[in-house]
Amino acid sequence: MELMLPPAPMGNAAFAWYSLKRDNTVVYTRAFSYPREFADAVKKVEQKLGDQVIRIRYSLDYDSTGDPAVHFRIVMPDSSLTKGKLLENTRHVSFVIEQELKPEELWGVNPYFRFRSESEQEKMQEPIWA
């Protein structure tokens, strides 16, 4: 079987990342090749979300099944994470990120989402969420 690889990226990447997925398909992981551009794209989504989020942090790595992934850490206002609004608001934020960023389609990474309220982060003081 012949593997059809996408063309090598143009621009300032030293080399392109290709990953072999579990089902033997080859994906071009643009987010790994262009981390700065990916960061800019995330920043734009963060701005679009406005006061619905305090900030968005993330790690580019691999998921538990070995596929390229982005693990988002999203700090949200306390008022957005009250019992009645928790599911709706977290779903909405993750949807906007997926819709705007298109992590799988454009960047070759599976998105995963975690959420924390501003007061929880103040208490926990975890640098990777700051």
Partner: protein
């Protein structure tokens, strides 16, 4: 109460332990238990189709986490928006909610069980649990639909999806 429902209920109770200062161990167990609630929900539904009930537990052991995740990622439109439960108008909407939640829950379970560097907050955990509870509601809404029944078979990880006649 079915086993999957018991697990979901247990996840909620574990997440609520320890008052204002939840222990990381409790939060991690809650995340893991919520994933297993959904895992056993769909396996229980799939094996219930097997007519000899004494063989259902053995059949359930055939399911594999990785293949189930792959099947979920192949559900059509799994990357699209999941509307709130009340606005899910089609079986496809509900199936997407189940599949997407399974993918997320499995990854968080791996992190909760194995990555000791990660810290969890209660609201993060509650969001994951409520997402699983929401997937339960969606599954119940479509469990007898043809697409849902086909999904159960695909969770076993056949190499090729059957082609329509």
């Amino acid at each position: 109460m079915a086993f999957a429902d018991e697990l979901l209920d247990l996840a909620r109770r574990i997440a609520a332990l320890d008052g204002e200062n939840p222990q990381q161990a409790s939060l991690r167990r809650a995340i893991s238990t919520a994933y297993y609630a959904l895992f056993h929900l769909v396996i229980g539904e799939a094996t219930a189709n097997w007519s000899q009930s004494e063989l259902r537990p053995l059949l359930g052991r055939v399911f594999e986490h990785g293949k189930m995740k792959q099947a979920c990622s192949r559900v059509s439109g799994v990357q699209s928006e999941i509307p709130p439960f009340e606005k899910r108008l089609t079986p496809e909407d509900h199936l997407r909610a189940v599949a997407k939640t399974f993918i997320q829950a499995q990854e968080q379970r791996e992190n909760a069980d194995y990555d000791v560097a990660l810290q969890w907050s209660r609201q993060d955990v509650e969001a994951q649990i409520e997402s699983v509870a929401d997937a339960f509601r969606s599954w119940i809404a479509i469990r007898d639909q043809p697409d849902a029944q086909e999904f159960l078979v695909l969770l076993l990880g056949p190499k090729q999806r059957r082609r329509p006649a």
